[in-house]
Amino acid sequence: MKILIVEDEESLQKSIEKYLTAEGNICSTASTYQIALDKLAVYDYDCVLLDLNLPDGEGLQILSYLKRTNKAEGVIIISARNSIDQRIEGLRLGSDDYLIKPFHLSELHARILAVVRRRSANGQRHITFNELRVDIDGKLVFVNDKIVFTTKKEFDLLLYFVANKGKAISKSAAVEHIWGDDADMADSFDFIYTHIKNIRKKLTDAGCKDYFQSVYGVGYRFASS
């Protein structure tokens, strides 16, 4: 996938670039409004990550530009402003998602995949990982084509890990993915452990290999080795 990162905070830009490139994407960066416009005029991207507060212009104008020129890019706004109005304005101007800073890179990646998938008519509706297959539209999990019943949260969590396969995901990122703003609940980190234990059991019972690896006690990685 080709991704354009429009973000003026250089260290954040670098982190995003590094993470997404490691996922096999081709990343391009723009620190200013002008550079972003120039790049968008010349190249096509699958997804644009757009910070709204740029030093030389308002990010929302890039959205209007994309809409005006009928560009097919998926756009995810990454903003420090958690404002309903701005969110609505962004969606009205054609953004596909709105991610509030600070966010986890694994969350960003999962969102990018979801946006790209939604936008492409013949996009992937399944994610396959060896004997495991996740049906995104039907919210179903299959092991060797045999269905495994999961709760909604277990499905979301599994999809999150599979989408970020091979990457270490911190418990805090997983908790925030599942519980969103309520993630400050005491001891909620332990529930991720319980959830993962349950998913592991269901998958291994169905004959799937155990792909969850603990990472330094900080998080987990979904990988085959």
């Binding site: 905070e9 260290s11 954040l12 982190s15 995003i16 590094k18 993470y19 490691a22 990454i78 420090a80 402003r81 958690n82 404002s83 309903i84 109005d85 509030i100 800073k101 600070p102 966010f103 986890h104 890179l105 694994s106 949260k153 990457k167 270490a168 995901i169 911190s170 418990k171 805090s172 990122a173 925030e176 519980w179 703003d181 309520d182 993630a183 400050d184 609940m185 005491a186 001891d187 909620s188 980190f189 332990d190 529930f191 319980t194 959830h195 990472v215 330094y216 006690g217 900080v218 998080g219």
Partner: protein, 419 residues
Amino acid sequence: MKLFSRYNHILILISFVGLIVIGFLFYQTLTSYLNRQIDKDLVEEIIEVKEFSEKNLFYEPHEFENLNVIYKKIARINGDSIYGDTLYYNPTKQVTESSRFLKTQMMVLKQPYEVFVVASKFEREEQIKSICLIILIPVLLLLGVVLLVNRLLLRKAWIPFDQMLKNINNFNVNRAQPYDSVEAPIKEFAELNKVLLDLSLKIKSDYNEIKLFTENASHEMMTPLAVINSKLDTMLQSNILGKEDGEALADLYKATSRLTKLNQSLLLLVKIDNDLLQDTEQINVKEVIEEKISHFQELLNGQNLSLVTNLTNVDLIGSRQLIEILINNLFSNVIRHNYQNGSIEIILNKERLIFKNTGHGAALNPDKIFERFFKDKSSDGTGLGLAILKQICNRQNYGLVYSYHDYQHVFEIIFNTKS
């Protein structure tokens, strides 16, 4: 005590004490003056007795009923004349009266006699009474009028003050109109009004500045937090971290997420303060609660909390976001401050929403718990959850009451409070 009553009490007290003292002195002066008059009459009588005696006659007053002269024969003359008050039975009038007497010893018809001249004071005393009344009644009337006029005038004069008090009580930093100015004809009150107006404007502008500062500071912190978060995520991908690094990372993640949550809560408070969440729609509270129950199911199960609900269908008009945050925070609170195998009870009806939970510790101070950053030492929350709850209730005009019953913390939200 009201200034007016206090002033009146003192005024009445002084007036009455003054009246009594003056009345007493007045009465004393009058009495002694009249006594001297009577004494003079008595002396004249004695002179009459002497004159009659020289004509070899006993003087008997007849023209005056109020005067009697009594002769008593004695062995020899010794002692002086005595003036005095006595009760005397007047045989002519056949009544006992308060009287003035003069007792003296003298030679009458060359014989030693004790002469006792007694004069009734009855009429004189009546005179004194009349004089006193004639003076006292108008004075009392005047005092009454003064008090009445005082009361009316003061009441009228204090009207602007009462209004100012009411307005400053209604003053709310969040409302557009800071303080309703009051027209006051009295200079002091007009000055007070001006000071109140200036003060309220100053408070309002300071408050707005603080809000703006909080908002900006919180926003500015979000980008560095995003950098920290992304760097942590990147570091986590490294394969060369040791066990200690892992622990450090875990702590960093926790601290970052706490800081983020704190920031978000502050921003939310500012937003509620600024009325930025004013979308209104009809919300089925029962549905929201049931949704949240399934949302928090794992957390409930994790502590093995028993949940009892008694929910009726209630529709509220309000901001969905606010209602969701409200219920979220209530849930968050009853789960966070519960203990293993504890219980939660949720009651929803047309009038109120009640969350009860078992928890460590005794009753909390209901005046303190809704303050920002109030939390017990064991809590690792932001200390803003209940403050947000309070703020939302204020915005939606709901009542919010905390109480402690049967070892349970009870949070009660009363819809439709009329005020």
